[in-house]
Subunit: 245 residues, 2 copies
């Protein structure tokens, strides 16, 4: 155990921020930390768009399904998977860009997440709070239009950064046995831990909401994967020439 590991284990999302701004030099450093993450074949398929404009921030907060902290956080970044930049590089070298490969889509999406997570760790090491905003995928076409994203680029998620004005507890995670397997996948391995975790989650919600929220992890999962989720995504991505083949 060391400070970095303690930091990682103490993560929780922050959704209330003070008015204190995040200096641009700090944001620059955080994004550079993101760039230092591993990247598949050095493609660096990540573009972060920092949104300063107040009206745009408010629109994004609405497009994300009404998340006011998108507007109120000290800084807000939209993380885009970007195959447009390698396309330009490829064509500069008289290559013929091969659009729409699912593999390139995976590469770019993973690149974005690795970079963003480094940015998050760096931010938290400076005492800042963060919150990922997957809600941007509620309206990816509108987000793309607002930010002028070209084809071969999509907004994966947003990231709020700021000085925390709340101190929520760390959300308990699944027991290790359920997620770390050995030599082969074993469905049996997570039956017990899952039942145990269901009760942990129920207690967590109850204590956070003074008993109002009474739900297990399995119940939450039923709500999440027991119905279609953002069914527009495939059509949107295909239109952007992503994930076509």
């Amino acid at each position: 155990m060391n400070n970095t590991i303690e930091l990682l284990l103490s993560h929780r999302s922050i959704r209330k921020f003070t008015d204190e701004p995040v200096e641009q030099s700090v944001v620059d450093t955080l994004v550079k930390c993101g760039q230092a993450a591993a990247t598949s074949s050095n493609v660096q398929a990540v573009t972060a768009i920092q949104v300063h404009d107040t009206a745009k921030r408010e629109k994004l907060a609405a497009l994300a399904g009404g998340q006011p902290y998108v507007a109120s956080a000290g800084a807000f970044l939209v993380y885009c998977a970007d195959l447009n930049r390698p396309r330009i590089a490829c064509e500069k070298e008289a290559g013929e860009f091969s659009p729409g490969m699912t593999e390139h889509f995976i590469i770019a999406t993973v690149d974005v997440a690795l970079a963003a997570q480094n940015t998050v760790v760096a931010a938290e090491s400076l005492g800042l709070g963060i919150c990922y905003i997957g809600g941007l995928r509620n309206n990816p076409a509108e987000v793309s239009e607002l930010l002028g994203l070209p084809d071969h680029v999509y907004p994966v998620f947003g990231l709020c950064l700021g000085h925390p004005a709340q101190d929520p507890q760390v959300k308990p995670r699944m027991p290790l046995e359920a997620v770390l397997m050995h030599d082969q996948y074993d469905t049996e391995q997570f039956n017990g831990p899952m039942a145990e975790y269901d009760e942990t989650v129920r207690e967590y919600y109850k204590s956070r909401t003074s008993g109002k929220k009474d739900s297990s992890w399995s119940q939450e999962m039923k709500a999440l994967v027991g119905k279609e989720s953002r069914p527009h995504m495939k059509g949107f991505l295909n239109k952007r020439q992503l994930m076509v083949k």
Copy 2:
């Protein structure tokens, strides 16, 4: 600047490891650090399969396109995007799982990358070296069979962990201006930095290979996106009931 930020900025992939093993308690801690990362709607769609079996490790090294460090690293994890566990939870609650959503595929893939990157940062904070193995996607069906992965699960990448037996330099990244934009996407913004970076990369390769490798970033990108890449991925994923709609 602090120790964590210095650590993040000093990342490089390690492909040669000493024989010193990585204690199981350390691997457990690293995976727990991964679990502590943000996860969309708390789905925790990550299963890490630690491969101990020597024969399996050697097969995986071959399946990844001949990467011997997959077999020789102190520890090796296969990171899987796992929608099978939430499926089981959903069905336990008498829900009807909605398979094949592209949105769920994105959620799970991002979850995996965020978790893995936390594991990487924790590992490096302990002086271990790491290398991501995207090459597992060369043969995802064979990897899945070897590890007994069920439907709704796919191997996103592998991760080598171990005590470094080499000390490579940090690979230079794109100038910040090319990847951090403000308020809108601006293609013009990366023309200059990209040309500059082409030369940085050329010098980097030359100095690492005593002049043998003479290639710019744009030339590398032509090789990467100027042709089809792992064209089996879409069919493989669809077969596994991922990313169908």
